[in-house]
Symmetry: C2
Subunit: 191 residues, 2 copies
């Protein structure tokens, strides 16, 4: 269990529910004593079992270099309270310095991968890349299996995001420096 | 221009912004005099120019059969006012009957593809599939180029989703019959 307050394990069969609504993520990666973190808006669940995700990471990013060398990464789901740091992590490169420190983000050891978890997030998916040269080279698209998943129990439990105080709600990327905060939850009538 | 009130063209270079926050979509497809529509939660932008999207469509779906035969589909972004119909379109098959009629959804001619637009939605992406046998067969993953894009000007303009009345805001899929309605828009400080 990661050393994060309110952090609880999410069954791998429910990991897709962390990503289904389309939150912005912080991708963290590490290799050879270096680590990095970057903001990414283009990701989605890809399969239920084994749990898989797909994410777009441009070839210029240092995070991608560490992802490709280690074969691993973590998708961290930041809440509104991290808005400024999410913007900062999406606006600068981590080459040559420690972007965690530069952005005021705290790294915590993950359970199954070398990439760290970002403290203060409300969901975490530890991922191992399924190597697919065509997708990575032609589309900057990475496919990965989720090997461990965690959530802040105040924001996500019973396999679903829950109503909670706004500071704990995931962000969704709009454009420029604009984000949407997860809104009200509605239930459709059984069809 | 589609025969839809409040519908305005979205530049293809801005089409990604319709999908970035991760809304649930209705996929519509048509071939050989048949048409269908289904709800899908797993999709994302894939490229800026040419504008591309990625979407997961399981092999059991009739919508997929029409997508593969025609090479085309439309991603329609439904707002909260269509919640009940979105749930209905995700809970039944369109094989053997017209699911538009069964779900109370209205189809309107698209500009560049045979698949229809769904009236009452607030964003539309007309798509042509980039054939990728491995992705379609191994991952149920379709990659497509966006050939036309439209939005309801009350909900999306200037390349970004905008604050608007709740009935016009996109939905995001959570779990079971639960959806999240697009929440408040916040701006991060320039990093």
């Amino acid at each position: 269990m990661p050393a994060l307050k309110f952090c609880r394990a999410v069954e791998l069969s429910k990991a897709h529910a962390l990503m289904s609504p389309g939150p912005v993520v912080l991708i963290s990666s590490a290799h050879g004593g270096l680590r990095n973190v970057m903001t990414a808006a283009w990701s989605m669940p890809l399969d239920f079992s084994p749990a898989k995700v797909a994410i777009v990471v441009d070839r210029q990013h240092f995070t991608r270099e560490l992802m490709e060398k280690s074969g691993e990464f973590v998708l961290n789901i930041p809440p509104k309270s991290l808005l400024d740091k999410v913007m900062a992590a999406g606006s600068q490169s981590g080459r040559g310095h420690d972007k965690f420190a530069a952005c005021g983000l705290e790294a915590v050891a993950a359970a199954k991968v070398a990439a760290p978890l970002v403290a203060g997030c409300v969901g975490w998916l530890e991922c191992r890349i399924v190597p697919e040269a065509h997708n990575q080279q032609a589309h900057d698209l990475f496919i990965a299996e989720v090997v461990a998943a965690w959530a802040d129990e105040r924001a996500f439990h019973d396999g679903c995001w829950q109503p909670c105080e706004e500071s704990l709600r995931p962000l969704h990327y709009l454009s420029g420096n604009r984000f949407m905060v997860m809104g009200t939850i509605v239930e459709a009538p059984a069809a």
